[in-house]
């Protein structure tokens, strides 16, 4: 009798919950269930013990085969071995992460589906806006002692202080990419780009996504006159002045763009594909242009080269965060700590050559690891990192990105 009563209540609750989720009218009062242990005060050993035998859900962008290989064939078995944690991967990036957390927040879901999210500045900004992240937790992780939080490229994400709310995982510089067999003298500033476009019509475009907007930020900084011209808080007047010149520049050269500028690719992956097939000759990408693994995989020709813009290209980090309602925060912390450890970072650097940089500060590492990192094989095709780093500029405030997205559509695509 008691049993059937329970079942009935359970079913009624389920139906009610499903309905509430659909209508989304439940209150937003969503304090997550606290773990039995106080994570901010418990010693690290207690946290890893709590995590042992649990499952951790990691939502990440799965668009890169080398990275997938690293996760599936190295990270997943290693965390099982070291911490007895089952790491499960779900696909999803920026907008999906935000949608999921927003949806759960609205529906008052206390035990979220995801424990770790891979994010960068734009998603960090959005998640902070809806209080979607749990923390600060990074200082608690033992691996954080190898990270130099005074490095502004780590502690500041899109001009926002990270405040230990997200843990650095990777770092890369944006670069332009060309095929040296097709283009002998690639453009390095806007004037040269204009000349290049007229000589090679149809071989360049800007994707209407994060990567494309990052290129526009570099252009905007050049119009502003210096690598630091966009630093600091968002300045409406400055943005309006500079962007007007940028749109004018693009529109007057639009007919020399891919498809005569009648449309722009939706995503960067399409740009990469068109470079691989020879439709485009001048492209761009994160992580030193992202050419190393693509050349090794045979997607890009061996004559592919990456380089920085004269006025600089953006150097930024990407991070791991824990959603506010993660149901396994101890597990998430344990996995993130592993991903930031010298062992995992070294493997990430050397496994497929996808990445050329680590978020760890070599001077803070134990001697043995420092030697290993210093002697790690250098990337074969990527540009010289130190030379490139001299042209590194910081990510401008997120509002620049918001405005560029909107205005690129209204001022360029729809015109």
């Amino acid at each position: 009798m008691v049993h059937s009563q329970c079942l009935k209540t359970f079913i009624v609750n389920r139906i009610f919950y499903a309905f509430a989720l659909l209508v989304g009218l439940v209150s937003c009062n969503s304090t997550p269930i606290e773990s039995e242990i106080n994570l901010s005060e418990a010693p690290w050993d207690t946290i890893t013990q709590e995590a042992s035998g649990t499952t951790v859900n990691f939502m990440m962008w799965q668009g890169n085969p080398s990275l997938n290989d690293y996760i599936n064939n190295y990270v997943i078995p290693r965390v099982k071995e070291l911490h007895n944690i089952d790491l499960e991967i779900t696909g999803g990036q920026g907008p999906e992460v935000v949608q999921l957390v927003m949806g759960e927040k609205q529906a008052g879901v206390e035990k979220g589906q995801v424990d770790i999210v891979w994010i960068n500045g734009e998603t960090f900004f959005q998640l902070r806006k809806i209080d979607g992240l749990w923390g600060p937790f990074v200082k608690k992780l033992p691996s954080s002692k190898y990270i130099n939080f005074d490095n502004p490229f780590i502690s500041i994400d899109f001009q926002q202080p990270v405040n230990y709310m997200e843990a650095p995982w990777g770092m890369g510089q944006y670069a332009l990419v060309y095929d040296s067999a097709q283009v002998s003298n690639p453009p390095r500033n806007l004037n040269q780009l204009e000349a290049y476009l007229k000589e090679n019509p149809g071989t360049f475009t800007i994707s209407n996504d994060f990567s494309g907007m990052t290129l526009l930020k570099s252009f905007l900084a050049e119009i502003g006159g210096s690598p630091t011209s966009l630093d600091g808080e968002f300045d409406e007047e400055k943005y309006n002045r500079l962007s007007e010149q940028l749109w004018d520049y693009i529109n007057r050269n639009k007919r020399y763009f891919w498809k005569g500028g009648s449309t722009f690719p939706k995503e960067h992956t399409k740009v990469d594909q068109m470079f691989a097939t020879g439709e485009l000759h001048l492209v761009y990408g994160f992580s030193e242009g992202g050419i190393e693994d693509k050349i090794r995989d045979g997607l890009f020709p061996k004559t592919t080269r990456a380089y920085a813009w004269d006025n600089g290209t953006i150097l930024n980090s990407n991070y791991l965060g824990i959603p506010y309602n993660s149901s396994n925060k101890a597990g998430a912390m344990t996995v993130i700590n592993f991903l930031m450890s010298p062992e995992a970072q070294f493997e990430k650097l050397t496994r497929n050559g996808r990445e050329a940089r680590t978020v760890l500060d070599l001077n803070l590492l134990p001697e043995e690891w420092r030697m290993k990192f210093e002697n790690a094989p250098k990337p074969q095709y990527s540009p010289d990192l130190e030379k490139l780093a001299k042209k590194a500029i910081k990510e401008p405030a997120p509002e620049y990105m918001i405005r560029l997205y909107d205005d690129f559509r209204t001022e360029v695509i729809e015109k």
Binding site: F19, L22, V23, G24, L25, C28, P95, E96, V98, Q99, M102, K105, Q106, E122, Q126, K129, I130, G202, N208, K259, S262, T263, F264, P265, K266, Q273, M274, T277, G278, E279, M401, I402, Y405, D406, R409, I413, E414
Partner: protein, 287 residues
């Protein structure tokens, strides 16, 4: 007893078909007025005003309607021609297999095929290049992500036409169009008159609701225009998803405005369509 079962059936229909739809619609309406949504702060008509004044919705609606209309018209035309011209041949195994095969291919895959075949670096472009028709692969005409939505329309036609062929063949048989044609012929009608005044009217009158439904279906298509469309204007579903997933969280409600308007228009069309409750629909369902 039978009554009881039909009540349960109705209950399930309401639970599965009506409640989620109604809930989602109410949710969208509330979202579009800023009543729900983590970053919204209460009732406002701001999103409706900006969506209606920007004109993007109407542009997108017109664009979607044009694409759907062209695709359905060409598909129905071709299917009628095939069904009337090759009635016997289409009943043969191999040919019917070839022509119905596209029905089994999902939209995403069809769009992907179209892209692989017709893009500037695709199969036909390479073939033309190899045959020396083009000096550079880039000279290949714009057939995907193009201004006139040729890629989208082509993909829609390959997916929709086989369905109509199948439908028309069945109607042809069930309505005994062959017998009617013979009768008309014996009464002195010319072949032209038989086609235009007997076969076509009979077949279209029996199927027009499905034609209209297909139009509505294509109006809301997502994957195909996502892969093969251009960035502006975009088809309705692509526009809605873009607005809902946009970077600026304060404008997400605009996506819900578009979704609400679209739902109202389509629902009204469906109600109008079925309130007439033509006997023809019933006849087809019965068949």
């Amino acid at each position: 007893m039978k009554n009881k079962y039909s009540n349960i059936g109705l209950l399930f229909f309401v639970l599965i078909g009506v409640v989620p739809f109604a809930a989602a619609f109410i949710y969208s309406v509330l979202y579009s007025f800023g009543v729900v949504g983590v970053v919204n702060d209460g009732f406002t008509t701001r999103f409706w005003e900006s969506s209606l004044t920007s004109g993007e919705f109407f542009k997108s609606f017109g664009y979607s309607a044009a694409i759907a209309a062209v695709s359905v018209t060409i598909s129905v035309g071709l299917a009628l021609w095939l069904a009337l011209k090759f009635t016997k041949e289409l009943n043969r195994k191999l040919l019917s297999f070839v022509i119905y095969l596209p029905l089994a291919i999902p939209g995403v895959v069809a769009a992907f095929f179209t892209f692989q075949l017709f893009s500037k670096a695709g199969f036909f472009s390479r073939l033309s290049y190899k045959l020396g028709w083009l000096e550079e692969a880039r000279q290949f005409p714009d057939l995907v992500n193009d201004q006139y939505a040729i890629g989208i329309i082509l993909t829609f036609i390959t997916g929709v036409m086989p369905f109509f062929v199948l439908l028309f063949l069945n109607v042809y048989k069930n309505e005994r169009v062959a017998d009617l044609s013979r009768l008309a012929y014996s009464l002195g009608a010319t072949p032209r008159q038989i086609t235009w005044r007997v076969s076509l009217p009979v077949m279209l009158r029996k199927t027009w609701t499905l034609v209209v439904l297909y139009f509505i279906f294509l109006l809301g298509a997502y994957e195909v225009p996502l892969i093969l469309g251009q960035e502006s204007p975009q088809m309705l579903s692509v526009l809605v998803i873009r607005e809902i997933k946009q970077y600026d969280l304060t404008k997400i409600s605009e996506g819900y405005v578009v979704a609400v308007i679209y739902t109202i228009i389509v629902s009204l069309a469906a109600i109008l369509l079925f309130s007439k409750k033509s006997k023809t629909t019933e006849a087809i369902v019965d068949n």
